[in-house]
Symmetry: C2
Subunit: 489 residues, 2 copies
């Protein structure tokens, strides 16, 4: 079998693209910038969805669904918002096709032109706050804690599977509150939910922080984010939580009567993660042989491959393995027993390595004699022979160990590749390889110049930032603490 | 409290619309024909989704995701398909907005015109079979058993919440097979899955049948359906399963190498149910006081309302109710203990009746003394006092009883309102009130004429149709069995 994918050191970008395709996660569609998420990729996304959805519900949120299309005029109601999204909107102008009279086949019917053009939602603040206006009269109607799982569209010019696509799947939470503090608390709570999900389920350590003004969501007062390091040292923004202040309440005239009978504007938040997390998951852990999936998000946690020549041998193996499969399933472990005779064991080994199945068991006639099974873990590639007796507990413990090992590996990698820089020369050198903590004078102008010269951006002002007097690496002006710079996806 | 909704006998159509809005299920959006599904409505839809999704997975299907947008040219590749959908397509023509130089605000940027217009999917056969072409080379790649949960858009001129909306949510299964028989078996299997779901979960009896040619899905060889009777005697098509033959394989050139090395066209099916099921659920069971939900799909199965004047009394009630709530939850019963002091018990009773909560428990100081609780069931409105001791088992049994009672009631109603007609006069009279089984000569012409004159259509040729010699009620020509006529949603 030929090598499935190029190595990371050869070409990191090509490694990623080929891995996504070869592992059966996603592929490009005939529509520019849109992707097809294939069953194996979607199974991982479903696990993410289910986990996040439960976390949202546990924090009091309900799901709802708002329209795909947004009147063009809605977008203009919040000035920063339209500025941020107008350039990447897919626009619906007509609602009918017809047969061309000149025989050119099916054409757009010019008579079916919409009076007002409709935008495919790039995000739903506008259409949702337009609804909230009707939902909210008094303090009794607050808070509104709503989330929606949806597809959105941003017409990006340069796209990459999962990381940046014209259409992507996401969830967007939109909440409305009576007080500023409640909205700020919600913003923080959801940032923490995202961080917990990234670290405990994706096994991906993240840095929590707040964006600078120039990286803020269009229409937000403050944008909080989680940033993760990929294996090439670049940063990937894995989720954002926005404190919207009263901006959208103002734009859509959403007011409520307080307990005291006064009329006040409502406070808002919004927060989202998307199929981009799939890109993060892949790039954070995988290696030159394929995916490395954290057990908590792996659609198949354990695969069992029988090694046999004759059908009688398979029958004997099945006699031992079938009860094992039931036991594993009873423990909530997802297991696949691959008895296909269309592929050889070696092919299957490579296939499940490529697909990142955390634990592989192989069992043949000799193992049956000895009462053992070969156990291979995907993360370290270590193999061992274990007694069949007690293998279920062994596997269960191993899955936990793999989950924490993957996390620790990613965390160590990030720590090794996060440096402090005190001069601009030092900065330019270090930022080629990882995260750099450096002083910055707080101006958008300096931020922009550094970006132009180095392609690195301020990922965030970390929430655990230490107060430290220093000088901006670029202008030498005073600074009160280091911010996190990196090149980013 | 004013009566929330008009009665069914006053105005069935208005009853439905007001019920949908007042029960907090959905509302119209500012975009013509699109709806906002509100949290309570979405919670019911989520229960439907979860149940169906598990049924699809249990029958071997996997989820995937295909693009929202479809190139216009794809639609034209299958002749019947484009004929069926061209007239209701939302068309994306541009991908950017800009600030108008004349100061008219944000306008469509004429320079960002797409070379080929894109259609918002009305259904995804074309874009999916375009992918299948790349996924399928040999018999080893078959069958492909894929489903997707998605939003679709059909620009309907007359819309009604849930029943007919421009954008709706649905699932669409798309499978590919090596043989005709396998594809037919799949079509039947999924029809049965839908029928089981409708009857066992929605408590809604359905008639399984095959559509006549004129009601067939655009591009199918055969369309199977389930038809349910609403309380006004009209039919609602609740799900369809299509045997596509090799039509889409031909259109997209999808061939495979057989075991014997021959090249053959792939056989296909597609099948779907949508948020229309919400409309069916509402109209099948609800009454003049509001929703009546089958327990298996009710977001809240049991509500507990405390009756008290003083806070000490509430504390005493809570002491008894809190352990009850835990016990109910441990049994997998969803329960809400509504201790809000902003609303009176009477208001709460009306509210939960409106929302269709199957079982209501009310408990006050006198009940505490006697060790009883008032139990009210939503379907029959019956009330009784039951011992608190053993109430969990009582409620659990009651939920099962309600589920089957609702089903039986709907089934009896349908049986009472399904008649046979042997003359056209008889037919015209009967079809005003329910389903009519009548002979038909098998021509589209007769079907069309009957539709024009009576507004009734052939809902299906029932799968359990009896062979019976007869004469077409309209033309008197010979017929071999009765078909099902009704007015329909």
């Amino acid at each position: 079998m030929a090598k499935a994918i190029p190595s990371r050191s050869e070409d990191y970008s090509l490694w990623y693209n080929e891995l996504v395709k070869k592992a059966g996660l996603a592929e490009n569609s005939p529509v520019r910038g849109c992707m097809v998420i294939k069953p194996y990729g979607f199974a991982i996304w479903e696990k993410m969805q289910q986990t996040l959805d439960q976390m949202f519900k546990d924090t009091g949120h309900e799901n709802a669904y708002f329209p795909l299309l947004i009147p063009k005029s809605f977008l203009s109601k919040e000035a920063d918002h339209v500025e941020g999204f107008a350039k990447e909107c897919a626009v619906v102008t007509h609602y009918r096709l017809k047969n061309d009279e000149g025989g050119k086949g099916v054409v757009v019917d010019p008579e079916a032109r919409l009076e007002e053009e409709l935008i495919i939602r790039p995000t739903s603040e506008t259409v949702i706050w337009d609804s909230y206006k009707n939902w909210i009269q008094s303090y009794r109607d607050l808070p509104i804690l709503v989330n929606q799982w949806a597809n959105v569209m941003r017409w990006e010019m340069r796209t990459r599977l999962f990381l940046r696509t014209a259409e992507f799947l996401w969830q967007e939470g939109h909440t409305a509150h009576a007080t500023k503090q409640e909205a700020i608390d919600e913003t923080n709570q959801m940032l923490n939910v995202y961080a917990t999900f990234a670290e405990e389920f994706m096994a991906m350590p993240v840095i929590k922080g707040v964006k600078t003004e120039s990286e803020r969501f269009a229409g937000a007062v403050d944008t909080y984010c989680i940033e993760a390091m990929m294996q090439d040292g670049k940063a990937l923004q894995a989720g954002t939580s926005h404190f919207l202040g009263q901006n959208f309440a103002k734009a859509f005239d959403v007011k409520f009567a307080t307990k005291e009978g006064k009329e006040e504007l409502v406070w808002g938040t919004s927060w989202g993660v998307s199929t981009r997390l799939m890109g993060a998951l892949i790039m954070a852990h995988s290696d030159d042989d394929g995916l490395v999936l954290p057990p908590k998000l792996a659609p198949i946690q354990v695969v069992i491959v029988p090694i046999y020549f004759k059908d009688e041998q398979l029958a004997q193996i099945e006699e031992v393995v079938n009860p094992l499969v039931s036991e594993l399933k009873a423990k909530g472990i997802s297991v696949k027993f691959d008895t296909r005779d269309t592929h050889k064991p070696g092919w299957k080994f490579a296939e499940y390595e490529l697909k990142g199945v955390p634990v592989r068991l192989a069992i043949g006639p000799k193992d049956l004699e000895k009462g053992t099974v070969e156990v291979a873990r995907r993360d370290t590639k270590e193999k061992s022979f274990e007694k069949i007796d007690g293998i279920v507990d062994h596997v269960s413990g191993l899955l936990e160990e793999i989950q924490s090992n993957i996390y620790n590996k990613a965390k160590n990698f990030r720590e090794e590749n996060t440096k402090s820089a005190d001069t601009y020369d030092e900065f330019k050198e270090l930022v080629e390889h990882g995260f750099v903590l450096a002083h910055w004078d707080g101006t958008a102008e300096t931020e922009e110049k550094i970006k132009e010269e180095t392609k690195a951006t301020i990922r965030c002002i970390p929430l655990d930032q230490q107060k430290e007097e220093g000088k901006c690496i670029f202008t030498g002006k005073p600074s009160e603490g280091r911010v996190l710079f990196a090149k980013a996806y």
